[in-house]
Chain length 230, copies 2
DNA sequence: CGACATATTGAGGCCTTTCAATGCTGGTGG
DNA sequence: CCACCAGCATTGAAAGGCCTCAATATGTCG
């Protein structure tokens, strides 16, 4: 259960401050970033802009996404409170980042982090593990997108959000639109909507107030998600 | 063109020895790994086994893949000569690795590499960039799998292999089976076969001897692949 | 050369998409 | 305070792309 959570949620393994788990208190104190307050829909950085900063979400939800030339959109990740985003390339951002809801994020200068890595062996190690966990998540997503049905993807998404969220395994926030979810799962908004309706009909989930979802039968949901992986 | 190649082919950015680009000759010499000769289909490591080694391909082709509980298979990557594989998790392998063809690979003790990272700031930096490039590739693959048609996926795959291969941009080796390609692209073997036939019919490609493919119209193939990304 | 795995091709079906209409909700201004 | 508006969600019907099942070709290795 614990390990599954880590796999599902690479970013959360690094609670604020970013390097808290670097094994060095000194490190943690170096990164007292600058907090940003964001309106709904606000762009945090654009695709193609140079990478100078990493961000940690304090409150709200952030999405990173790319637009294809023909207008198709892909969402690479949603960042929840406590998670880090901005790690999407070596030199320039290969995705843009926008606030899904009102949000507060903290910016960390990437330069500072890299300097630190150069000086602090344990930070380097920790940072490496952090990146690897993101890589694991991306690989799992490839499997989800390549080999799983719409029903499995949506169930898996809900289970993942519940595990990453702050309301326990049976309640989750779903602040993003059906279109965002669809772009994240490689589906259409209509299919997402239909799949959610089917889950409601089967009494696996129920709607709550404020875009919340209650998971009524977590075992059945996990089963529908395809048992553990992804 | 050059940058596109790097994006497509993260592993090749580190030719043998693994750390040749670490900026430190000293580093390169530390990793004189042990060469392994592999028969066709031989397993190099199993899913779930502890990660102790990283591998560089000297000759032949290697695949990393996972089997889902219900028998569906996913291939995470193909490693070509000069490329590195084995970087698929923090503690245990989350994929297995097998030789697609007869192959020679060189094993590097991960422990040595991590020790080195701790001691050599430049190695840490270099390693970090290396991992990030793998992450970029995985993210691009998510877009490929989530938002592109069968025709785009296959064209993109061929273009990618040509860029990574050693015969220039108009000739490539295709040693893996249609099933392997299908499991890599999130399709079925039949669809891959049909798509290749369509490309042949349109004179974008032609078969060569020994599982080679000639790219007759590279521009058209890139166009079919969806223009640059992926 | 023969046996087996792999590749190709065809026909039909299913799942997801597309197109379209309706209902809902939250924010805004009269 | 309420009505209106715009965006989002839901649902339906039809189409399309990819998959499944099946048969036939090709090639590869003993």
């Amino acid at each position: 259960m614990q390990t599954a959570m880590v796999t599902r949620n690479p970013a959360q393994a690094f609670p604020f401050p970013v390097f808290a788990k670097a094994g060095s208190a000194l490190v943690a104190e170096r990164f007292l970033g600058r907090p940003l307050r964001l309106a709904r829909g606000a762009e945090i950085y654009a695709e193609g802009s140079p990478i100078e900063t990493l961000f940690e979400v304090v409150s709200g939800t952030v999405r990173t996404r790319r637009l294809l030339p023909d207008g198709r959109r892909c969402i690479a990740s949603f960042a929840l409170p406590g998670e880090v985003f901005g790690l999407d390339g070596t030199g320039r951002h290969r995705f843009s980042a926008e606030a899904v809801t009102e949000a507060v994020v903290i910016a960390f200068a990437r330069k500072d982090i890299e300097d630190c890595i150069g000086r602090e062996p344990r930070a380097a190690h920790s940072w490496q593990a952090f990146t690897l966990r993101h890589l694991e998540a991306a690989q799992d997503r490839c499997i989800l997108l390549g080999r799983r049905s719409a029903a499995e993807r949506v169930a898996s998404f809900l289970a993942d959000l519940a595990d990453r969220g702050q309301h326990g395994p049976h309640l989750l926030d779903l602040p993003m639109s059906r279109y965002d979810i669809a772009d994240y799962l490689g589906l259409t908004a209509e299919t997402v909507s239909r799949t959610l309706s089917a889950l409601r009909r089967r009494r696996l989930i129920a709607d709550g107030a404020n875009h919340q979802i209650h998971i009524l039968d977590r075992d059945a949901l996990d089963e529908q998600a395809g048992e553990g992986d992804a």
